[in-house]
Every structure is written in structure tokens, then in C-alpha cells.
Amino acid sequence: MIRKMIGAVAVGAFLLALTGCSTASGTGSAGAAKAPGDIVVGFAQVGAESGWRTANTKDIQDAFAASGMQLKFSDAQQKQENQIKAIRSYITQGVDVIAFSPVVETGWDAVLKEAKDAGIPVVLTDRAVDSKDDSLYVSFLGSDFIKEGQKAGQWVVDEYKNQTDPVKIIQLEGTTGAAPAIDRAEGFADVIKADPKFQIVASQTGDFTRAGGKQVTEALLKSNPDATLIFAHNDDMGLGAIEAVEAAGKVPGKDIKIVTIDAVKDGMKALSDGKINFIVECSPLLGKQLVDIVKKVVAGESVEKRILTEETTFTQEQATAALPTRQY
């Protein structure tokens, strides 16, 4: 009994100490400039679903390590509830800034409101949220997915400009409901719809994974044997599609052209080998820009609501030239 009481007192004291800490840091952030070592940033990552994501994670971790700030990192394994849990725990811990890449676009209002009420600024990286209230976050750092889809569509329009026969397209979508999946499909459709010869004959989700891309392509190539182009929303699904195309006895890059988005190393290798025809870059290296935003936000400076990452596109020749110096 006495032992239990001592335990309870110890836990109580510990909790008091914890709350003491968080109030102290709360008043600190309101004051003048903080030393980098005192700044705590909570980052809720989507997961490690693709090579792109792991490059993104590494770049962010490296950038924060170099800046001297403390980074608390969590991996949501592609589940929204895990991400919400992570954000809530960052709020309880009283971090200075929360950054996260939302798994899906919707359903964030409640938890972002909690962060706002706790006075913790939120920075979105790489993916946006769909909310009427844009005061819930201070900035969105990331690529313009609609533009990426448009770039992919533009290449397709240019590639087939001399052809009058219909071009039958299979689209491998990203995770259903995810911003890149929705926007890339929209941007691509915007550009190709000007010419009715472009037909998306089938469009299914491959969940941004290689296994998904392979299995979907296997099935879709059988029900649509006359398809000549595959548009995959990321490299990994494109890599899966290459295997399915080869298994169907066709030559990827020739019989069936493949356009993807991301430009991760494995994708660039396949592009350089001629198995992919065109890749629109979606750079994961936004760690440095994120660190700058966090510094400004903590110092109380204003930041732009929408910050774009710098990106380009790659043809097969450009991929061969770029591969030796590719970081991810």
C-alpha cells in the first residue's frame, strides 16, 4: 500500500515537472530569438512507401541535424489515424513548430484547430490539406502536383503530335484520396483533353507501390491489349508496370511507352535504360527550405502561404547525364 502511494506521488511529481517544462518553453517562444538548440520541431511523416519518401525523410533529418535544431520524427505508415496521433502528441509535448505531409487531403480540421489553439504553428510539406480555413497552417511547402500532371500530359501531346490514330492510355493512380493522386490525374487530363484521340481506357490505383503497379498493370494490359501508353503517378508504380509489360511479352519504352512522376534513382536508371520514356521531377529535397521556414516562423517573421520546390523534367538522354550525380 505504502509502496503504491510512493509510486503515485512519484508519478504526480513527474507530471508536474513535465507541465513545468512545457509552460517554460511556451513563454520562451513568445520572447526574443531562440537558440537553434532550443527549437523543437515535430515532423509527422507519411511513411516509407517509396524511394521518394525515404529520400524526403533523409533530407529533412539531415537538414535539421545540420541546423542544430531538435527534430522529433514519426512515421505514420500511411495511416491518417497514426499521423493525427503523432500531431496530438507533439501538441502535448509543446513543440515549437509542427510540420507534416498529410496522408490524405481531408479530415484535418479538428487536429489542426487543436494545434492552433495551443499556439503551435503548422507547416505542411509536400502535400496539401483540403480545408476552408487556411489560417490553420502558416505555410505549405511543396510541389505543384497539378503542374506535374500537366508536364506529363504535355510530353504525351508532343510525343504523339504526328499521330492521328487514337492513343489508348492506362493510368496508374496513387493512393485514393491523396493530393498527388487527385492533382496529377487532373493536370494530366486537363492537357490531353484538348485532343479527342487521347483516351484514358482504364485508371486504377496502385497505391504508389511497386507491387500495386505490377498487379494492376498485369490485369489492365489483358483487358486493354491495345493500350500503348502508361501514365503512372509515381516511379515505383512505373517500375512495377515495366515488369508487367515485360511479362506480357512487350517491350517497355517501345511497344508501350511509360511516363512517370518523381525521378527517384531506380526510376532514373530505368529511364536511362530506355524502359521509361519521360519522368517529371518531383523533388523530395525540401529539408533546407523547411528549416528556413521554421527559423522564420519561430522568429515571428511572416512566411509565404505557398512555397514551391524547384523542379525539372527528364528525357532518356538527360537521365543518363544526370544519373552519376543523383543524390536519391
Binding site: 516509407a48 524511394g51 531506380d266
Partner: protein, 351 residues
């Protein structure tokens, strides 16, 4: 087999559902049943279903035996991820990733680790008496974390032709993964149904204490089935990893435990233990994989996919439930009224 026995068989509705799915596919895509030989191997939708369904079937075979002992193994997906992660990191770490020796070592080490994990599950359940759902939940959560540690959070891409054979290769035109699945299925069926082993497993499922007092070594049996389940999960994990030529600690075998349990249940094995049907599990695994293919061939929009799958699974479960079956029986008897001969025959076959 007469009509009434066919109706009352637990396999009847799953088989009907499989046929219905085949017909839906055939209507949406007339070439569904066509089989050709391309590049010296079989090529066609049915081959894809068998090939992609192989990992689920292999895990479901292990799961069937576990469920027959009134247990459950939630950790199979995590074991898949660990096996893939171990194999890929060994292959990547070796100087010759393309040599058969390297791949053999990688596969053997992955399987040995899985055996240890299975023994751990069996130990928790049989020796410490922890409820199976809790005991295996530990490894389900911790295992994926362990796989992440092995891969250091990266997707490990391997370029090793011998390793690729496991998931995407062909033997005499038949996919290697299908051959592996057939071997495991047949071995499990022969070992448990041609010997008393199956009966002993079922008796443990009905009443472990009573079977122990009757002289059945239930503890050893439990450890064996959990070890076999982990072993089959590791084989499935190697197939999945080899198929995508990369170890992906987060996604390899994700939710496959649910697919496997569903396959077992669709096949008519009761979660209450004490009775199992490996043939039913085979049909269940085929139904699940055909369902996935149907979504693609029919072109069901990704947003509606989950609802479609749920509807099919609900239909199978409703049709299989004893209450529905009893209602069907009453309905058929009312049709057969006036022909007393049929009625007595039916009663006799039911009892």
C-alpha cells in the same frame, strides 16, 4: 453427390461465388479464360490470379491449422516483411548478389529466423497461456518495426536474377510461386489428413485440456502449428519481395493476415476451432484474389473498390451462415412437399 448434399456442403457457396466472379470477368473481358504461351511460359488472367494469390494461399494454409486449434496468428504480415528484409539485406550485403549461393543463404537465413519467430508465438500461446490474439499481436506490431530496423527505413531494391525467380520465375511454363503454393498445400493436406495429425489438431481446438488428459500433447502441437504458420508466412514474404524485387518493410504483407483469415473463414473453417477444411481455404484464397482482379477488369472506380469487396464478402458470409442455410433447407423442403420419398432421403442425409 446428390443435390441436397451439395447444397449443405460448406464449400457450395464459396464455389458458387468464385464461378459468379469468373462469369462477371468473362462478361467484362471476353478473353478472361484464354491461356497462351508467351516467351515459353503460360500467360493469361487465370495465371495472374494463381500467381498473385499464391502468397495469400500459402499464409492461409498455415492460418487454417492455427485457427483449427482455436487460435489466430496476426503476426504473419510482419513475418513476411521480416523475411523479405532479411533476405534482401543479405543479398545486398554480399559481394555477389547474382550468385545462387548467396540467394540460397539469404533464403535459408530468412526461413530460420521465421522459425524462431514462430517458436516465440507458440511459446507465448502454449507455454505461457497468453491468448493467441494478444500473443501474436505483439509480433504483428513489433515485427514490422524490426523489419524497418533491418532495412533502415529504406526500400531495398535488389538486382539478383536467382532471387527474382522465386516470385516472377517459371518452371516448365508454370509460375514458381504457384508451384511453391501447390507443394505447401499438398504437404499440409497429406500430413494432416493422411495421418492422425489433423484429428489431433482439431481435438486441441475443441478442448485443449480434455485432449491433454486423453494423451494428446497439445502444447507441442500448438507450438508446431504456430511455427508452421510463421514458416509459411516467411515463404510468402520471400515471394512478395522477389515479385517486386525490393524489400519494403512498410508495405510487404500489409493486411495479408486479414486476407488470410478471410480466406480461411470463406472456406468454411470456424474461428471457434475444432474443424478445418484446407480445400475450403484454397477456394477462399482464390475468391479473394479473383475479387481483386475483377475490380481491375470490370473497371470499378478506385473510390468504390472497398465497398464492392465488402459487398461480395458480406454476400458469401450471409449465404454460408447456418441460419440462412436452414432457411434454404426449409424452402427446398417446402418445394419438395408432396414427394415424401425425397423428404426422408433429405432428412437422412442431413443427420
Amino acid at each position: 453427390m446428390n443435390a441436397s448434399r451439395m447444397f449443405s456442403s460448406r464449400l457450395f457457396w464459396p464455389v458458387v461465388m468464385l464461378l459468379v466472379l469468373f462469369i462477371i470477368n468473362l462478361v467484362a473481358f471476353p478473353g478472361f479464360f484464354s491461356l497462351e504461351v508467351k516467351n515459353g511460359h503460360l500467360f493469361g488472367s487465370l495465371v495472374d490470379i494463381a500467381r498473385n494469390g499464391a502468397p495469400t494461399l500459402i499464409i492461409a494454409v498455415g492460418m487454417t491449422l492455427v485457427i483449427a486449434t482455436r487460435g489466430i496468428d496476426l503476426s504473419v504480415g510482419a513475418v513476411c516483411a521480416i523475411a523479405g528484409a532479411v533476405a534482401c539485406s543479405i543479398i545486398l550485403g554480399s559481394p555477389e548478389p547474382g550468385s545462387i549461393g548467396t540467394v540460397a543463404v539469404a533464403v535459408i537465413v530468412a526461413l530460420l529466423i521465421a522459425l524462431v519467430l514462430g517458436l516465440w508465438n507458440g511459446f507465448l500461446v502454449a507455454v505461457l497461456g497468453i491468448q493467441p490474439i494478444i500473443a501474436t499481436l505483439i509480433l504483428m506490431t513489433a515485427g514490422r518495426g524490426a523489419a524497418m530496423l533491418i532495412t533502415e527505413g529504406q526500400i531495398l531494391t535488389v538486382n539478383s536474377p536467382p532471387f527474382k525467380v522465386i516470385g516472377s520465375g517459371f518452371v516448365l511454363g508454370i509460375p514458381v510461386s504457384v508451384v511453391i503454393a501447390v507443394v505447401i498445400f499438398t504437404a499440409a493436406a497429406l500430413l494432416t489428413r493422411r495421418t492422425a495429425l489433423g484429428l489431433l489438431i482439431e481435438s486441441v481446438g475443441i478442448n485443449p485440456e480434455a485432449s491433454r488428459q486423453a494423451g494428446v500433447r497439445s502444447r507441442g502441437l500448438l507450438i508446431t502449428v504456430y511455427t508452421f504458420s510463421a514458416f509459411s508466412a516467411a515463404i510468402a514474404g520471400l515471394i512478395l519481395t522477389s515479385n517486386q524485387t525490393a524489400a519494403d518493410a512498410n508495405n510487404t504483407g500489409l493486411f495479408i493476415e486479414l486476407d488470410a483469415i478471410l480466406a480461411v473463414v470463406i472456406g468454411g473453417t470456424s474461428l471457434a476451432g475444432g474443424r478445418y477444411s484446407l480445400l475450403g481455404t484454397l477456394v477462399g484464397a482464390l475468391v479473394i484474389q479473383t475479387l481483386v482482379t475483377t475490380v481491375y477488369t470490370v473497371g470499378i472506380p478506385p473510390i468504390a473498390t472497398m465497398v464492392f469487396k465488402a459487398a461480395v464478402v458480406t454476400a458469401v458470409c450471409l449465404l454460408q451462415s447456418p441460419t440462412t442455410n436452414a432457411a434454404f433447407g426449409r424452402w427446398r423442403r417446402s418445394l419438395g412437399r408432396g414427394r415424401p420419398g425425397t423428404r426422408t432421403a433429405e432428412r437422412a442425409s442431413v443427420s
